[in-house]
Symmetry: C2
Subunit: 141 residues, 2 copies
Amino acid sequence: MKTMEKNRKVLSRSGMRATSQRALILDIIREGHLDADEVYRRARERHPRLSLSTVYRTLQKLKERGLIDELHFDETHHHYEIKQPTGHHHLVCLSCGKIIEFACQLSQKMKEDVARQHKFAVTGIEVNMTGYCSDCAKDSK
Amino acid sequence: MKTMEKNRKVLSRSGMRATSQRALILDIIREGHLDADEVYRRARERHPRLSLSTVYRTLQKLKERGLIDELHFDETHHHYEIKQPTGHHHLVCLSCGKIIEFACQLSQKMKEDVARQHKFAVTGIEVNMTGYCSDCAKDSK
DNA sequence: ATGGCTGCAAAAGTTTTGCACTTCT
DNA sequence: AGAAGTGCAAAACTTTTGCAGCCAT
């Protein structure tokens, strides 16, 4: 598998040992905005002896090294996504659970405003909106 | 206590039974952006037989009725605050943990942009920034 | 009075940790 | 070889639930 080789290189370049478990987990995170348990279940299909601890430890480490981002939706657990070059934020459909990414030029300005007004050195920003997607077209009034 | 009477009225008006536990919990949430366990600990000082289950059930119900908002910071548990008339968002200092509220006129526009571009009916928005407050003045570069 | 609420205990769900063994470099 | 990573089991932490009795309306 070509992509596995690429994943190993990404890991090495970030100063992490390139194990098969990590390459696999990285591969799976590219599939979407998954939580730890979903990563675990998908990974087990290809590597049945993988443990959930390894998933958690790997997610932690990938986050520290800046290879993935952690998302905090309205739930008791987190979701993860591959770090992307352009900043973006998320919409969560309350009906079907779909997660939609949206680009946002305003959030940059928002950061600057806050930094100026509160003398706050911003290192991260997360914007999450909830609602109903066009497919679900809820008659919520 | 005058404020307890007020809390009971708030509860009744929202169609909830006004119990002493709920009035107390509402009172304590006014103290800040607390998580369930912190609400529990503070509440026990005034009502030692209060159970943690009641705290969770009450927070759940207050959220449903729109009396409080749930915040999702970079943690495995949630925080709560009294619902306020004007929308605002939060800064979390990574050094001292302080939470700063900031008003934001841009988020309204952000919602409108998203609604238009993705045909998404927005019901909620949460903006959280992390960084370092002026007191901590980190030499993070 | 009666339906909702509470406390307690137990369970469920999520994340972390200790340790012996394995793998990467 | 040595350090870092893994699997397993157990623990820790957060939240939910069943149930008998209590309380607000």
